[in-house]
């Protein structure tokens, strides 16, 4: 990272607002971020973990019952062959977009403000994709044969069906997961080395020593590291766009009115980024509050994120409108009915929840005050995800429940097992996230240091010197214990 030549552009927002408040020193940053991990876990963390793990246990209980009894425990039927499981899959994959987008695309676009949030956004991505991957695995009728989806050599000399979008999903999501994991891990290596260096117990030393892959922080290592990071960012960027495009082909390549739509790939990607940012925001607001990290994850970050959400939210809104336009313009009566049925049929309530949350709500953020109002952002980000979940519900369920032959029309109702599995998936997600913020640095120390004024070789020569010592007072461990 040769940032030194572009002082003002790199270190500050155009509004002259610093990326990190309080002007901490390098040491302050290390202490602040790692202090959280090295201190005893606060009681709140334990309680949260207990709650989250209990929910995760519900997920596994639900899955156990599902495996024992069969898919019938869910509300799916004919014609609605896919219900909440696939809704949840698409929902979680969507959420899994923000992390890699922040890490890869914003990195390539030199958006320095990403440094404070990229680490946990990436972690969130991984956990969301893990949650997403649960669903295609469990939603099949015969789970014990689910591995047949992979192109494994077998005695039948059978390939999977390469024409099937479900197979494309397998490749797209697993590739995305692998790359995201690598990207995240490579980014972690310098921080892991720092943790190794600060470790007091032998076990910690050994574990982090192993994980940090012999990182010493030498110039040559940094050089390789940065090239590797850049390459991974380059590889990940198309994946961010491809994975949800491929997921959308599950629907777009079918013949079902409401699914058979060419607009789906970009529309899905926009929606995914929209929901992913909403989830990052939700988690960031909670985490920075709990650990008192307002100086690192600032209101400014929030505003940046909400702007992206506005953009993608409007893209999604445009897509909703376009679908209606095409339904009318194409003259296809089935398509027209499907869209009409969405807005005015038995599931109209779901459609209007979706529109309210995804299209109307983000319009509030034209007002700058609201963009920086944390409670409003918090509620807003939650509602966006509610809306985005309903978007998938609307697409999956309302298209299926009334398709070509009216004699087949039926209504789909989720059972307690559908609901339990969905709620339980949040348990899994939060458990993983809580474990992450307990054992790994939730803020990328090395990257944050890069954007500090102190990273500028000329920093100490000029006017910044006077602010140097300023914020160290409230950088103690008290915040972490609250």
């Amino acid at each position: 990272m040769s940032a030194a030549n572009e002082q003002t552009q790199v270190y500050q927002f155009p509004e002259d607002e610093p990326l990190i408040l309080g002007n901490p020193t390098f040491k302050d940053v290390t202490n602040r971020v790692l202090g959280v991990l090295e201190a005893k876990a606060p009681r709140g963390w334990w309680l949260s973990l207990f709650a989250a793990a209990s929910l995760a246990a519900v997920l596994f209980g639900m899955i156990g019952w599902l495996f024992w009894e069969g898919i019938g425990v869910w509300g799916v039927n004919v014609p609605v062959g896919w219900g909440w499981a696939i809704v949840n899959f698409v929902f979680w994959v969507g959420i899994g977009h923000a992390g890699t987008l922040i890490s890869a695309i914003l990195f390539l676009l030199r958006q320095k403000w990403r440094t404070s949030i990229n680490r946990f956004a990436e972690a969130m991505t991984l956990f969301a994709v893990i949650c997403a991957l649960v669903f295609p695995g469990i939603h099949v009728g015969r789970v014990w044969a689910v591995y047949w989806m992979f192109p494994l050599p077998n005695q039948m000399a059978m390939w999977p069906n390469f024409r099937s979008p479900l197979l494309w999903d397998v490749f797209a999501v697993s590739t995305y997961f692998t790359c995201s994991l690598l990207f995240w891990y490579v980014g972690l290596v310098p921080d892991l080395a720092t943790m190794r260096d600060r470790a007091t117990s032998t076990i910690r030393k050994k574990i982090f020593g192993l994980l940090s892959l012999g990182w010493r922080g030498g110039n040559r290592q940094w050089k390789h590291y940065e090239v590797a990071y850049l390459l991974l960012a380059g590889i990940s960027t198309p994946l961010v766009l491809s994975v949800h495009s491929v997921v959308s082909t599950d629907f777009a390549t079918s013949v079902i009115p409401g699914w058979h739509t060419t607009i789906f790939p970009p529309y899905f990607v926009a929606g995914a980024i929209f929901s992913g940012f909403a989830m990052v925001m939700t988690l960031a607001i909670i985490t920075r509050k709990v650990y008192g990290l307002e100086d690192y994850i600032t209101d400014n970050h929030m505003e940046k994120m909400v702007k992206i959400m506005m953009l993608t939210g409007m893209m999604v809104g445009l897509a909703y409108g376009t679908e209606f336009f095409i339904a009318w313009y194409s003259g296809n009566p089935y398509e027209a009915f499907a869209l009409h049925n969405r807005a005015f049929g038995p599931y109209a309530w779901a459609y209007w929840i979706m529109v309210s949350c995804n299209v109307i709500l983000p319009q509030l953020f034209w007002i700058k005050k609201l963009r920086r109002n944390i409670p409003v952002l918090f509620v807003g980000s939650l509602l966006v995800n509610v809306g985005m979940w309903f978007e998938r519900f609307v697409i999956v369920v309302t298209s299926l429940h009334r398709d070509y032959l009216p004699a087949n029309w039926d209504y789909y109702k989720p059972t307690i097992f559908d609901i339990g599995t969905f709620v339980g998936s949040f348990g899994l997600f939060l458990t993983l996230f809580l474990l992450f913020i307990r054992f790994l640095p939730m803020i990328a120390i090395s990257e944050v240091k890069n954007v500090l004024p102190a990273a500028d070789p000329h920093n100490y020569e000029g006017h910044h010197g006077s602010e140097e010592k300023h914020a160290s007072g409230d950088l103690g461990m008290e915040g972490a214990k609250s």
Partner: protein
């Protein structure tokens, strides 16, 4: 050596039987001595090399078996194989099934002595190869695990021998007093042997009573003809000769006497090959919506209780057009307001087609209506042409007056001993009769029936009755044709045949059923020819040419005139005094099939309700009482009350409550026990089908009604295409144009499908009457699991072929069309492209095949199927199938387990059987060699199947019809199953041509989830 024996002793005996033989040197030595004489001289107790190897082999085998998860079943080879039996190749035996006065000819498929499937007997006049749902369901009733297994004496297990002894002592005592105090209550008897035995019984006991009672009886029909002709007759309809049909509250296609023959004849006269052909016109006047009503060209809503007056009005109208109907002069129906235009148009039509028209009345109509109908048919010159009469003197017919007097005698203590011969009066007699308390006064009561049922538990004796497939017997069809009931299997439980029980009652002798039937047939057949004639009759299932062409009775106009007054003195129907109509269930008939799961899960062809008998009423009536589908109401009729849920049916007449009989059996039945509501409780003591003066009241609460189809409108989509005959005669362009996309722009190279056999199917919507026979035939052939009411309500029914029912035109007077939908076997199948594991693929003969073993159950194929014909095993539906029911399974079709998709296979197993036979004979498969189960079961020949690659095949002819169209063909699915458009034949006087096309489709019926009437067709 001994250790192995010890091991064996620990195991189940049967399990190890074959291994015993393998390892037990003592028993095995004999074999060895013969096989390897040189090794046999070794001392048996020393471990020789040979013994060692043998034991090792056995141990290995044992170890392998221990590792097996699935229980082992022994396969016992035939010691001497029966002649002509090839394992795996089914055999067919002819037999006869009775239902009321119907005798249906059956051809039963049997696998290694195990009956698995019913087909219609081509030679039998009652069905000519066709079937109905009850015939198809007979297989499951045979293997009913709840059928009675034990003789019971005062509730304690007993035996046939003990019963015989007990009866003999009664027999002796009654022989002395001529049978005073002895009575038998049976169903109607159409069997020559049974009628012979009944006569024998009455000869032995001249003072005894033999009463016949059917809850769904033909009493009115017989009495009506007696009024008209002065003798006991049964009318046989010849719909195939009738150009104009008037059905008066008659479901002649499905639930009336001779239903299959009627449906076949009707469809024959309706079949249209080219646009120059003509077809019949069906007028229906009814209040309840019957399956026949759904097929009407014109349907007029008339209260069942006013049908008599309506018939009088029609008779007068005929008089105006020059056909004097004997017996109606002086009886006026002017007090009633009927649609004059309708009646006039109808009368003109009937007169125009004198001798080629037919008027029929339903069994539920009073005798007087039947008498008048006979008179009308006589006046129109139809008698002897489209309807012929056959003497019914030698039948024992249900008589409700006899039943009432029997009950009175029982109550007064005159009846000491009562035998319930295959009847269950405690369930199916009207509660008003109070049979239960009457039975308590009877000293010796005997129940001889299939189940230890409601009546059996109140009787001293219960004797299990054999199923007809386990019995010898015979039957007489209405035209007098004789057929034999031949057993296909020895009684599974301890049942005895009807003829055996009757013989015992009549003579005290315990004789084999076969001998009893043979004895009857020595009189029927030419004695010299008995051997060959009997064998041939047994083979054919029917005595060829035994039916008569009908007698020509003389009409007694005076008798008719004096009877008609009762028809115009009917109480008016209003909201406060509603009409009730009782009718047999399409699923359980009178309750006898309540335990046949296939039938319970079969949707009612009109309401599409499964597993229930809600009270049916019109939308207007429901609106007035502020009730909807599933709301509970209480019906009060003649002092009896019944809480029952509501079903709302468009086209039903207002203020009429439709009550289906045959539900809520209280016997121990795992399928039919406690399903639905017992409407017998409301029936009047005359066992009438129609009554007035009922009241209903909403009582709150709701009840789950499961339907297989909840949306009845086509939403303006060209799904079921139809035109009038008049329009069609101008060419096929009246059907909505089909837009099949050109076969190009494919991402991959399409298969040509132009060599070898290419299977295809057509369904003629003009012939289909929506009777469901195909659906049960398919269930039976393809081992389709039952899922139960809750699963159906959840949208998880498993039928591979379903009958979609659409309403056209308005809610008040809906026209209905039925459309059977099996898998379309699309050449460009959307399901195949999306399956990630290639579990559903196309074969070279154009079949869309399912590989169950490969399926992982993503359900993507079902989602992407525009026809939604794929069925998913959401649970392991066959897990709890009782062992005995497994015998009903077709061994040629895999039983699917949980988590796999299934669907219509075009009866692939039948194609393969035909292929094997053709190969063995060194020829190609001929047209007609492959008959799918649905095609075979269909009573109206609506389904054709064959090789579309052969231009001369029947299927190719059908496909070249100008009525042929593909369902949703515009999706480029290229379905192999296509439809022939439906034709209607409206009378231009009632329905002028320009009015025919419905301007706006109306949402006829809908489920609890409501509907979106505004949606769709813009």
């Amino acid at each position: 050596m001994s250790s192995i024996k010890e091991k064996q002793a620990l195991q189940d005996k049967e399990y190890w039987r074959s291994l015993n033989e393998l390892a037990d040197t003592d028993r095995f030595r004999d074999f060895l001595e013969h096989e390897f004489p040189e090794g046999a001289d070794e001392a048996p107790d020393s471990m020789s090399r040979r013994t060692f190897v043998k034991i090792m082999g056995a141990s290995v085998a044992m170890a392998t078996l221990i590792g097996c998860r699935k229980p082992m079943e022994k396969i016992v080879p035939y010691l001497s194989a029966p002649e002509e039996r090839v394992l795996g190749k089914p055999e067919y035996y002819a037999t006869t099934m009775q239902l009321g006065l119907n005798a249906y000819g059956l051809l039963v498929e049997s696998h290694e002595g195990r009956p698995t499937k019913v087909e219609g007997n081509d030679l039998h006049r009652s069905n000519r190869g066709g079937t109905n749902t009850f015939m198809q369901g007979a297989i499951l009733s045979l293997y009913d695990p709840d059928r009675s297994k034990f003789h019971l004496h005062n509730g304690v297990s007993s035996s046939w021998a003990e019963f015989v002894e007990a009866w003999r002592s009664l027999f002796t005592s009654y022989s002395e007093n001529d049978g005073e105090g002895l009575a038998v209550l049976s169903a109607s008897l159409i069997s020559p042997t049974m009628n012979r035995l009944r006569k024998e019984f009455l000869k032995t006991f001249p003072k005894a009573k033999w009463v016949a009672y059917d809850p769904v009886h033909e009493e009115n029909r017989v009495k009506g003809l007696e009024i008209a002709y002065g003798e006991k007759l049964l009318g046989e309809n010849h719909f195939e000769k009738a150009d104009i049909v008037l059905s008066l509250d008659s479901d002649f296609m499905r639930m009336e006497l001779d239903d299959v023959s009627n449906a076949k004849g009707y469809a024959e006269r309706r079949s249209v090959k080219t646009s120059h052909d003509t077809m019949n016109r069906l007028y229906v006047a009814e209040g309840v919506f019957s399956l026949t009503g759904t097929n009407a060209d014109h349907r007029l809503k008339i209260h069942s209780s006013e049908i008599g007056a309506f018939t009088i009005a029609v008779a007068h109208e005929l008089g105006k057009h020059g056909v004097e109907v004997p017996g109606v002069s002086g009886v006026s129906a002017n007090a009633f307001e009927f649609d004059k235009k309708w009646i006039s148009a109808l009368a003109k039509d009937l007169v125009k087609h004198k001798g080629k028209s037919l008027v029929v009345a339903g069994a539920r109509q009073p005798a007087e209506v039947h008498a008048l109908v006979a008179s009308i048919n006589e006046a129109l010159g139809n008698a002897g042409q489209t309807v012929s009469y056959h003497k019914a003197d030698d039948l024992t017919l249900s008589n409700s007056e006899d039943l009432s007097s029997l009950v009175a005698d029982m109550k007064s203590g005159k009846v000491e001993t009562l035998a319930l011969f295959g009847t269950n009066p405690l369930y199916d007699t009207p509660r008003k009769l109070d049979f239960k308390s009457a039975l308590k006064k009877v000293k010796n009561s005997i129940s001889f029936n299939d189940f230890a049922d409601e009546s059996a538990s109140e009787c001293n004796w219960h004797v299990p009755r054999a199923h007809f497939m386990e019995s010898w017997g015979d039957a007489r069809a209405i035209d007098g044709s004789l057929s034999i009931v031949q057993p296909l299997i020895r009684p599974l439980y301890s049942g005895h045949m009807d003829v055996e029980f009757a013989k015992l009652l009549a003579s005290g002798e315990d004789v084999r059923g076969y001998d009893i039937v043979r004895e009857s047939w020595t009189n029927i057949l030419n004695v010299d020819m008995l051997g060959t004639e009997w064998d041939r009759t047994l083979h054919d299932g029917v005595l060829i040419n035994s039916g008569s062409s009908g007698s020509s009775p003389r009409l007694n106009a005076g008798g008719i005139r004096s009877s008609l007054n009762s028809l115009i003195k009917v109480a008016a129907v209003s909201r406060d005094s509603m009409e009730v109509v009782f009718y047999p269930s399409y699923s359980t008939f009178d309750g006898r099939y309540a335990n046949v799961g296939w039938l319970q899960e079969l949707p009612d062809p009109v309401t599409k309700v499964v597993w229930d008998n809600p009270v049916v009423m019109s939308p207007e009536t429901a609106k007035h009482f502020k009730v909807g589908i599933g709301d509970m109401v209480e019906i009060e009729f003649q002092g009896n009350k019944l809480p029952i849920p509501v079903y709302v049916m468009p086209g039903w007449i207002d203020n009429c409550l439709g009550l289906e009989l045959g539900y809520a059996r209280q016997a121990k039945m795992r399928v039919g026990g406690d399903v639905g509501f017992n409407t017998y409780l409301l029936r009047d003591s005359n066992v009438s089908f129609i009554g007035t003066g009922a009241k209903i009241r909403k009582i709150g609460g709701s009840y789950l009604i499961a339907q297989t189809q909840e949306h009845g409108a086509m939403e303006g989509r060209p799904i079921l295409r139809e035109a009038t005959l008049e329009e069609y005669s101008h060419g096929p362009h009246f059907f909505p144009k089909e837009t099949i996309p050109p076969h190009k722009n494919s991402l991959w190279e399409d298969h040509k499908y132009d060599t070898g056999y290419q299977w295809g199917m057509t369904i003629d919507l003009n012939s289909c009457i929506g009777c469901n026979a195909c659906a049960v035939a398919c269930m039976s052939e393809n081992n389709i699991p039952l899922v139960g009411k809750e699963q159906v309500a959840n949208g998880r029914e498993m039928n591979w072929i379903r009958i979609d029912r659409y309403f056209v035109s308005d809610v008040e007077h809906p026209k209905v069309a039925h459309q059977p939908v099996p898998c379309m076997h699309c050449e460009m199948a959307p399901c195949e492209q999306v399956c990630p594991v290639a579990a559903t693929v196309h074969d070279a003969e154009g079949l869309n095949v399912m590989t169950y073993n490969r399926c992982i159950g993503t359900r993507y194929c079902s989602n992407n199927c525009p026809y939604k014909v794929r069925r998913f095993n959401f649970f392991n539906y066959t897990k709890e199938t009782p062992e005995i029911v497994k015998m009903a399974m077709n061994p040629e079709v895999t039983v699917r387990s949980r988590g796999v998709m299934e669907k219509c296979s075009y009866c692939n197993q039948r194609i393969n059987r035909a292929r094997q036979e053709a190969k063995q004979e060194g020829r190609e498969i001929r047209d007609g060699d492959v008959i799918t189960a649905c095609q075979q079961g269909c009573p109206t020949n609506a389904i054709s199947f064959g090789n579309i690659n052969d231009p001369h095949s029947e299927i190719s002819q059908m496909k070249s019809s100008d009525r042929n169209y593909s369902l949703l063909g515009e999706l480029n699915t290229r379905p192999r199953t296509t439809y022939l458009a439906k034709l209607r034949n409206p009378n231009p006087e009632i329905e002028p041509p320009q009015d025919r096309m419905p301007k706006e489709e109306h949402n006829g019926t809908h489920g609890s989830n409501g509907h979106n009437g505004a949606g769709g067709h813009h």
